[in-house]
Each structure stands twice: as C-alpha cells, then as structure tokens.
Amino acid sequence: MNPLEKALRLTEHPALRAGLFLASAASMLAALYLSLVWAPAAAGETEAYRIMYFHVPTAIMAYLGFFVVFAASVGYLWKRNLVFDALARVGAELGVLFCFLMLATGMIWGKQRWGAWWLWEPRLTTALILLVIYVGYLMLRNSVDNQAVRARYAAVFGIVGFIDVPIVHFAIKLWGNVMHPVVIKSASDAGMPPEMMLALRVSLLAFLLTFASLFLLRLRLEILASTASSRLSGETR
C-alpha cells in the first residue's frame, strides 16, 4: 500500500469528516448571527463595516494555506514522501481561493469606504503579489507531467516563494510610503469593543473549521486521483 492510500484511510474516517463538517456549519451560522445581528454598529462606519468579520479571517486562512505549502514543501524535500506533495498542492489551492476572497471582500469594502475599488496600499499590493506568486505555483505544477519531478520543482518554488512573502511586504511598505505617505489603517487596528472582538473570534474559528473541512475534501480528491492513476497503470501493465 502506498503512503497516500494510508493517508486516505485516515481522512476518510466518516466520523472525522462528518464531525468537521457539522462543526464548521454550526460555527459558521453562529458567526453569521454574531457578526451580522449581534455585534454593535461601529461608530462612524456604515453597516458595510461588518465585511471585516469575514475579510480578516479569509486573510488569515490565505496565509495559513501558503504556510502549509511551505511546510509541506520542506517536508517533501526532506522525506521524499508524496503525501507532502499532495498537502502542498491542496494548501496552495486553498491559499489562492482565500487570497482571492480576501481581495474581493477587501475591494468591496474599499469601494464603499474609500470610494475606489483599489488603492495601491501596502497590504492590498502585498496580497496581490502573493496571489500572483501562488497562481504561478499552480501553473508550474500543471505544466510538469512526471509526478516526482513536479513534486520537486513545486517544493523548491514553494519554499522560495514563501520566503519572499515577508520581504515583499516589507519592500512594498517602503515603496508605498515613498509614493503616498498616508497608510490607511483597517478597522481591526482600532481598539475594538469586546463584543466585536468576540464576533471576530467566532468568525475566525468558523473559517478555521471550514478551511479544515475544505482541506480534507480536497485532499481526498488528490488521493483518489493518485489511486486511480496507479490502479489504471497497473491494469494496463
């Protein structure tokens, strides 16, 4: 049995999958209620400020996904186990998904708050560069056919790309300050009332659980694909 199939057994445990799904659904409902109804209106902001309760968690999930890529890439180069490669691929895909959501919700909020979809502000720009780097990572993966070669190349790029992330942020901060010195602070920087903080925490938990369920679901696809290809190639031999 190849190691991927072993991992499949673990993730296919029905109790785990069902439990995670239920937990994420329940916490997501709670987060929706807390942030849309229960949390107080923010002084000097319209109702659109509530986007923040979902924007901040998507941002954290995006960085989590990219961190998974980095950790799994290091793991792959170290252990040469294709399970790590599958983890990296799934992490990148979820990271790209949440990074896109972070940008989309941020832009919608920005249109309302700043009157523009986009400002070349350090945080936004960093997120955009991140998205480009990891879409590139997925493109790299798609253009290599051999599994072992793909795993290696992707791991190398995953490591270099992740090391670049803080440097990109730092550089763009420098550049942004040079171009326009006003750095707009997001709502989460202000000292928040405890109700808002609680709603944000619950929402973060809900997104974390959703991330985990999506991760398992996507990992299962990766594992099924590898089983299918190994079975089929075994068949033709």
């Binding site: 180069l77 780097i133 290599v144 070669v149 270099v160 990109v168 730092f170 550089a171 763009i172 420098l174």
Partner: protein
C-alpha cells in the same frame, strides 16, 4: 570549497567559450533593452521635468526584461545537446553548477548594462553615473539578487512545456522587492538625496541578495537531479 570553485570556473569557462563563438545573442539582447528604453519614452513622454522621477524605474525594467531573456538561455543549450546529464554525472558538487551558471548570467547582464547605460544617459539626458562608486554598487547588488533567483527559476522552467511564458511569470513576482529597492536606490542617487536614504536601500538590497543566495544554493541540487 576550493574544489567547488575550481569546478565552477571550469563550467563558466566552457559556457563563455560557447557564447563567444556566437556573439549574436549579446547584441540582440542589447538591442532589445535599448528598444525598451526608447518605447517607454513614447509611452510616458519623457521630458526634463518627469525624467528624474521615471528614469530609474524604466532603466531597471529594461534590465529586468533583458536579463530575463538572458537567464532563459542559461540551461537551454545544455538541455538541447543533452549535456545536462553529463554535468549531473560529473563528480562535482551541485552548487558548483549553480555558481557557474550564476556567474555566467551575471557577466552577461553586466555586459548588456555596460552597453545600455551610455545610450540611456544620452537619450534621457540624465547623469546616472553622478555618484559612480555607489551607483555601481547598486547595480552590482541588484544584478546579483536578480540573477540568483533568475538562475534558479531558469533551471526550474528549463523542462516545462510553456517555458518562455512561465519563466517571467514565475520570476517577476519574486523580484518585486528587488525592483523596488534597486529602482529606489538608483533614483535616490540620481536625485542627489541624502546618503542615509540610498544607504538604507543598498542595505536592503544586500540583505535580499544574501537571503536568496543562501536559499537558492541550498535548494538548487533538488532541481539539478531532475533536470
């Protein structure tokens, strides 16, 4: 360590010799970089007022484009002639191959820059070489960081189907910090800013180079095995 350097020098000399036998690529790349500079002039309508602001960015864009063309070639001849296997089989450390390719790409880029700079100074009527030692240091550090990542990504993309488009798509986002630091340092030097301004940017450039030089040398062997 000395063994690695000797092996790297041997590979570098071999690369230089093949490059010298057909000099045309250097000339073509120079023409391309020159064209980038000329075309930006049409796009932005450069005049005496906006030249100091835009020039450093345009110059570095020209270097980045020309350099990206250059690095794309560094593993191509080896692939086409199946020499990469011989390199992989040779009993030298993998990092020797990386160092040799990096040095070759650096020399190539420096030659292109040496040809482009006079043309740039004349066309944009800006004295880029105002503070020559410092500006040369900025170019050197910028080139090293650029070519370190460039050589690594060129090795990554040498085998890919859509190699020509994937190399810039993978490389340029990684180079954003370098472009920011280098263009800012060059522009501070052209504008005659306070030394503290450009010195801090030169420090960032040096840190970028150091981080990626260490990382790239470490991970290169994993690509080399599969080239």
């Amino acid at each position: 360590m000395r063994g690695i350097l000797r092996a790297a020098r041997a590979i570098l000399v071999k690369d230089m010799r093949t490059e010298l036998r057909s000099r045309e690529f250097l000339g073509n790349t120079f023409m391309f970089a020159l064209l980038v500079i000329v075309i930006f002039n049409f796009a932005f309508k450069i005049n005496a007022q906006n030249a100091p602001q835009l020039a450093s960015g345009i110059l570095w864009i020209a270097f980045l484009f020309a350099g990206t063309l250059g690095v794309g070639r560094s593993f191509q001849a080896e692939k086409e002639n199946d020499c990469i296997q011989a390199l992989a089989l040779s009993p030298v450390d993998r990092s020797a191959v990386f160092l040799a390719k990096l040095a070759g790409n650096l020399i190539f880029l420096a030659l292109v820059q040496a040809m482009v700079l006079p043309a740039f100074v004349v066309l944009y009527n800006l004295n880029v070489m105002e503070n020559f030692p410092m500006q040369a240091l900025v170019f050197l550090l910028g080139d090293v960081g650029f070519m370190t990542l460039g050589t690594l990504v060129a090795a990554l993309s040498a085998n890919l189907k859509a190699r020509e488009i994937l190399l810039p798509v993978l490389l340029l986002p990684l180079l954003t910090p370098l472009l920011i630091f280098a263009a800012a340092a060059t522009s501070a030097l052209i504008g005659g800013d306070d030394p503290a301004v450009y010195l801090s940017r030169i420090k960032f450039l040096a840190a970028f180079d150091l981080i990626f030089f260490v990382v790239s040398t470490l991970v290169f062997e994993y690509i080399m095995d599969e080239l």
